[in-house]
Amino acid sequence: MCSDTALDYEVAQGRAQSFYARFERKDELQHQTHYCPGCGHGIANKMLARAIDELGIQDRTILVGPVGCSVFTYYYFDVGNIQAAHGRAPAVATAVKRSRPEAVVISYQGDGDLSAIGSAEILHAANRGENITVIFVNNAIYSMTGGQAAPTTLLGQKSTTTPGGRAADTEGYPLHMSELLATLEAPVYIERVGLGDNKQTAQAGRAIRRALENQVRGLGFSLVEVLAPCPTIWKMSPVDAQHWVRDVMEKTFPLGVMRDRTGEAMPKPAAPPSPALEEIPRILGVADEDLPQGNAHAVEGSREVDLEVRIAGFGGQGVLLLGEVLAEAGLDAGLEVSWLPSYGPEMRSGTSNCHVRLASGSIDSPLVSAPGILVAMNEPSLRKFDRSVRPGGWVIYNGSEFPADCARADVRVLALPFTEVAHQLGDARASNMIMLGALLEMTAVLPEASVGAALRRLVKNPRWIELDERALARGRALFREAYVEVGA
């Protein structure tokens, strides 16, 4: 208020407490906003500030400002202020509210911001039922950028980008955001109000206050759409612009309550209290006392280990689990290990493979391009990787007959119908563990205790543990038999 000039009128309502005493946007004219004379934003700002005052929430309030004519809200509102990117205020407000549930978070947006570029953000914030308050100021035009058409521009309305007037054929119809959002389940309160005359303006004030009150009560998403005059862009006098809101705009955007579930809505339950910091490692499963001690140094000193294994097969054959048990057992035995899966479409198209390394020294690359051992659980996998096996290496192949054209003089082969053996054991799906058993016997690196511990860590079902243990033993026996046979 200007106190230094003599007033020739009486002040019925003074400046709201929630406005700054001086607006430091410009060096001069610090008692004025940047809004044009007759602009609806000035009125909407004032009613919002007054509602904040009335509810006594100034300290708790965080105003998220948009891009558009109301971009400078942080110059006027003496509350916590966050300026957001164009259209993104509901996303910003979502996280502010979730981060600070005690704060009262307001997303203040224009129609270009909310109904065009930010249409996804408002839709989903509303659909999640975020406990925020949205003030949506609709003047049917992009004003800040000089009068381009908005999704809310009326049919026939001229703008710089609809010079012949908005045509439904090419620009579609005015977007009714409030009606659209009122089709969602989550919002508790949506009302369209106008600034077309004093009566409408008074109702707008009540609606804004209710929308804030809902949030304070913890009820959920509230939105007030305010039909607002823009005399400058509409090229009208402030009085004519106000009448145009009431006489023309309102025909396209009828005023009224689109949603009111404030009566039945229950306050959202508060989040459970956060655990103490000391509990976090345990919750994350990384606390030392909850991790297996392992069988460290079981291998160290006895021999140098450097196993490079490639495991491949159809999805569902347990390719990745075979590799995981091997890696987990290696870790348990105090070795350095790595496990690298193939992932994505390859996995989903039905084939799968993984790289496993176990070493007594540090592992440089986890990629196994020339494996010392190839575990091929089917023929396509064998054909894909058989040439890559290192001279002197092994192929463990799931099939009674090893394809003759895959045979190599410099690679040893263990080819057995592992799936059939697994079926005899009780479940064909245990073939992976039989093959792992053969691999373990062949390499003779890992102590059985480590393999058992790994299995119990990765397989939770006791029936499967029992079966897998038998499968591992069977695999070991099969290798011994075959090896003796080969040796003989």
Partner: protein, 364 residues
Amino acid sequence: MRKQLMKGNEAIVKSAILAGCRGFYGYPITPASEITEAAALYMPRCGGVFVQAESEVAAINMLYGAAAAGVRAMTASSGPGISLMQEGISYMAGAELPCVIADITRGGPGLGNIGSEQSDYHQVVKGGGHGNYRTLVLAPHSVQEMADLTALAFTLAERYRNPVFLLADGFVGQMMEPVEFPQQAVAAPTPGWAVTGSAETRCNVVNSLHMGVDELEAHVGELEKKYRLAEQREARAEEWQTDDAEIVLVGYGIVGRILKAVTAEARAAGIKVGVLRPITLYPFPTAHFRRLALRARLFVVVEMSNGQLVEDVRLALNGARPVEFVSRTGGNVPSHEDLFRYVQALARQLNPGARAEEECLAHV
């Protein structure tokens, strides 16, 4: 501390929570989805917020909100999603908001594929958004580094009030290795500039708008000062057998691992090779390059991209030494066998005398 086997993607989330992160806002994408899934599981249990956003655009703007409210927050995505986030990253850099973004890179451009690539280097290291800003970028090459550098990322984000990237590839994200974590979770105090909805913070404003030309230039100048400081203090690289290296192999992430394997083989064959692995991609470890250039004769950059890191290496060396470039793309990985043969050929070119000697021996 005991080690456990874990995927790199999961290690990021656990380390983030231990480092005080209490907000995760994400959108699923292969090969980064495990990060979002682990956050969905653990964040609420630890008193944090998890929201699956409607898009990466929304996710990064949620991060903007969480950071503005003074909460340590992160997101994770891959190439196409990072492209969508660039708007919000620019706003966060402009508004000086800290956050951590993990990019588990896949193949591009466009929909590309979900194979492992390093083709996001330009959009992450150079900044893909508008305006005068930088992001700090850390490039882990193991699951342990996924954990350790995530914790560092939060420290740097807060220290410089700026977004910090973890730039990894699908391999580092998807592979399992033994990893250990600190046994004490960090308490993250609310920064004084945050807007928390309290009387003390009522005067705070989070904003990237500076209307006056001089005002904006001053702001950009302040940001630049931070970046210069980060360049002086935060550059990191690992040097591997570089002391007497004639050929320095350069690569980050999974490529760094492969280059170590190549080095082992090359050293066994008597070739003086070493690895320089940038750990920070911005700030770029220029000093390491200049120092190694005093002795090394040749640098070889290996990338799973069409040549992005190599530009920074050339800038760092500024013509002091020749730079060769080896590229695989599309999800292909340079095998260490191929690279070894390539290095052998380079070594023969560098030392023709040694080659003659070798041939003489072969003819004996």
